[in-house]
């Protein structure tokens, strides 16, 4: 399964880069799956998906936004697009020797 380093696509400078320190969130588009390297899982909630305003145009990997309980905006990832991206750039996968033994067992 490809590991997708989301912080590279999104150019987040202070993200966790070592897969053994972060979390791998496995997502799928129905047929294929990939693992997204994320810093932290915050929870699960129901939201209303909105677009990011006509003026923003299409942002690769983001399908829209949602207004959260505190009034801030959360971005909604475009999972099929991310899976497709992860599949086409083989370069984002981590090497097997980077993994800890228990992770190889889990994969």
């Amino acid at each position: 399964m490809p590991v997708f380093r989301l912080h590279r696509l999104f150019k987040v400078s202070d993200a966790i880069e070592d897969p053994t320190n972060g979390l791998l969130m496995i997502v799928g588009d129905g047929r294929r799956r990939c693992a997204l390297l994320v810093d932290e899982l915050l929870g699960q909630q129901q939201v209303v998906a909105k677009n990011l305003g006509e003026g923003m145009g299409k942002v690769q990997g983001v399908s829209g936004g949602a207004i959260l309980g505190d009034g801030c905006i959360g971005l909604i990832l475009d999972t099929p697009e991310l899976v497709a991206l992860a599949r086409q750039n083989g370069t984002v996968s981590i090497r097997k020797e980077d993994l800890l033994p228990q992770q190889i067992a889990a994969a």
């Binding site: 999104f10 923003m56 942002v59 936004g65 801030c72 905006i73």
Partner: protein, 171 residues
């Protein structure tokens, strides 16, 4: 690359053939004006959610009473140095080419009437801002303001990006 876009946005540019009311605001030490008819409202700074893979000057999106709109930092758009947010920093929500977009400026000043006789053509040098983005230079109450063509400022480069990203997907 910028040259290509001028024709795309030409039809959205406002006519300079008439004067009218302009909202003036400051960026750095310079005073600018935008047509008041393009201005929807002026709000303080709201929490901004950064959106990845957008140009540097697009600060992100804000929640405007339940509607998500993008915000652009005009200083960054004109490649001026950044400034910390102060109590005077504010967001002008404008209607540019039918789109609602927030524009961050240092402070807003006033609304003034500038008759066409007081608007002069843009000299081709000597301003911080690309002359393509200007409607003209307005003179009112003894002060000079650079009158921005806000449609061009906000839409020009985005059109290029949309086109080029579409090309990338097709290729």
């Amino acid at each position: 690359m910028n040259n290509v876009t001028t024709t795309n946005t030409a039809q959205t540019g406002a006519a300079t053939s008439h004067g009218g009311k302009f909202l003036s605001f400051f960026l750095k030490d310079e005073e600018y004006g935008i047509e008041i008819l393009k201005v929807q409202e002026i709000i303080g700074m709201l929490p901004i959610t950064r959106v990845p893979r957008t140009p540097e000057y697009v600060r992100g999106v804000i929640n405007l009473r339940g509607k998500i709109i993008p915000v652009t930092d005009l200083r960054s758009r004109f490649e001026m140095e950044e400034q910390e947010v102060t109590t005077e920093t504010c967001t002008i929500v404008v209607q540019a080419g039918g789109l609602e977009i927030g524009v961050i400026v240092d402070k807003v000043s006033e609304v003034m009437d500038i008759p066409i006789s007081e608007i002069e053509d843009v000299p081709s040098f000597g301003t911080d801002v690309n002359a393509d983005f200007l409607l003209g230079i307005g003179n009112a109450n003894g002060r000079v303001r650079l009158l921005l063509d806000i449609d061009k400022v906000l839409l020009t480069r985005e059109i290029v990006e949309i086109h080029s990203s579409n090309a990338g997907i097709d290729a």
